[in-house]
């Protein structure tokens, strides 16, 4: 294989152990990770779901008999690799709380109302230019028990597959100007301020549909591949 994925870019990720997010304390490995070369195993990855994605999966406001409550929004953006190349045909999966900050999940017992017209899950296959587009409602903030008076900023979960198993990414999209940012240990688990900002969507009047929905732009950048073919690394 001439394909090589850069390793340095992964420094943008949070460390596994971030004690302010208390659930990491018993779930972060204590032993050092073992550095391995990229083999055909890592440099390939799933191409799936294409036959199962329906156009209607991208409109979370149209999955039930009635309209969900809350502020209707359009979230659009591109899936790119770190060299700026669009990633076409990428499966983007999304899930979120409803406008009251309640997940439809069986284990979410937070006393905010469930919305019978909102499940909060969708999927999309990116176009040739890497673009995706969802219609949904703005999720609410919600309390969690990490520490006293802990509230999560409003966010939407994203799951994306790039061209290899190493570019697999699960992340969250946040909304600009959220006053809860300084208090959220999950968001602040990302050490670099600029990297954190990459998870904040941009309000975009162009994406907004008059009389219908506000618009946000959110690009997702996956680990890329080096442009120049090189020999397979053997750093052990």
């Amino acid at each position: 294989m001439a394909l090589v994925l850069p390793r340095g870019s992964t420094a943008a990720h949070p460390p596994s152990l971030h004690p302010a997010y208390t659930s990491t304390v018993l779930r972060a490995p204590q032993q050092p990770l073992v550095l391995v070369p990229h083999t055909l195993t890592e440099l390939t990855g799933p191409v799936y779901g294409h036959g199962k994605v329906r156009d209607s999966d991208a409109d979370l406001t149209a999955q039930h008999a009635g309209e969900p409550l809350g502020e209707r929004i359009i979230v659009s953006g591109r899936v790119l690799d770190e060299d700026g190349r669009p990633v076409p045909n990428a499966l983007v999966e999304l899930w979120q709380a409803n406008s009251a900050g309640r997940y439809v999940h069986v284990r979410d017992q937070h006393p905010a109302p469930l919305d019978p017209n909102f499940t909060g899950a969708g999927r999309y296959l990116t176009a040739e230019d890497g673009r995706y587009r969802f219609t949904t409602v703005r999720p609410g903030a919600y309390p969690w028990r990490n520490h006293h008076n802990a509230w999560r900023p409003a966010h939407i979960h994203f799951s994306v597959f790039g061209p290899t198993f190493l570019s697999r990414l699960v992340t969250q999209m946040y909304f600009p100007g959220d006053p809860l940012f300084p208090y959220d240990p999950i968001f602040n688990g990302i050490p670099d301020a600029k990297a954190r900002e990459r998870l904040i969507a941009r309000f975009d009047l162009e994406t907004t549909q008059p009389e219908w929905a506000l618009g946000y732009q959110f690009d997702i950048v996956l680990r890329g591949r080096e442009a120049t073919p090189t020999e397979e690394p053997h750093e052990h």
């Binding site: 055909l40 191409v47 199962k52 499940t119 697999r168």
Partner: protein, 202 residues
């Protein structure tokens, strides 16, 4: 967002975030969430898939020895002939319907489960071959980024010459080797502490 609409090089990758405790209806809806389109699940191989049918199962355990009921595993593997269903594998067959990808959540006991086929050997570094293995990504509440590990098979003689296993300290190799019982292979994933699973920097 830092990229401009005309393209250009982004400032860096999007950082990883936890799937949280409530990912199930988005990623592993099963039958519990009827309005979500059916996703992939632990059924990796169909009845007609060539090769030895196996079940891969085990538990995800935290540093206190407790099961992790809100984790998710994704696996990626070659088919029985050691070929990946992907354009980067020039040996892949167009006609093979086996995709080699599966996703399983953990239950209240921390148990994951895949029904798949035993993979063949695949090319390794330097023109050699790797022992049969399955690549695993572990996600979960309390995990800000996924962990990568591998599953090997205890009855494989070629484990002794596998170039990736050789990079793992000998005393820890056992954490990657699934125990065999008929056609069921069992391997627990220990996130932390005694018997901690080997995770890879990839």
């Amino acid at each position: 967002m830092s990229t401009d609409s005309a393209g250009g090089r982004p400032e860096g990758i999007s950082p990883s975030q936890t799937v949280g405790p409530f990912f199930h209806y988005g990623l592993t809806p099963g039958k519990a969430y009827s309005h979500v389109p059916v996703s992939v699940d632990g059924q990796v191989a169909e009845p007609g898939t060539p090769g030895e049918k196996i079940v891969l199962t085990g538990r995800v355990i935290d540093g206190a020895g407790e099961p992790v009921p809100d984790a998710m595993l994704e696996i990626w593997q070659a088919d029985a002939d050691g070929r990946y269903a992907h354009p980067n594998d020039g040996r892949a067959r167009q006609s093979n319907s086996f995709m080699g990808f599966g996703r399983s959540d953990t239950d209240a006991q921390g148990t994951y489960r895949f029904v798949t086929v035993r993979p063949g050997r695949v090319p390794g570094p330097g023109g050699g071959e790797q022992a049969p293995h399955i690549l695993v990504a572990v996600f979960g509440r309390g995990m800000l980024k996924q962990l990568f590990t591998r599953v090997y098979f205890e009855d494989e003689a070629s484990n002794a010459e596998d170039p990736i296993l050789a990079l793992v300290p000998e005393a820890r190799r056992g954490t990657l080797i699934a125990r065999k019982n008929g056609h069921t292979f069992t391997l627990d994933i220990r996130l932390q502490g005694e018997g901690e699973t080997v995770f890879f920097d990839v």
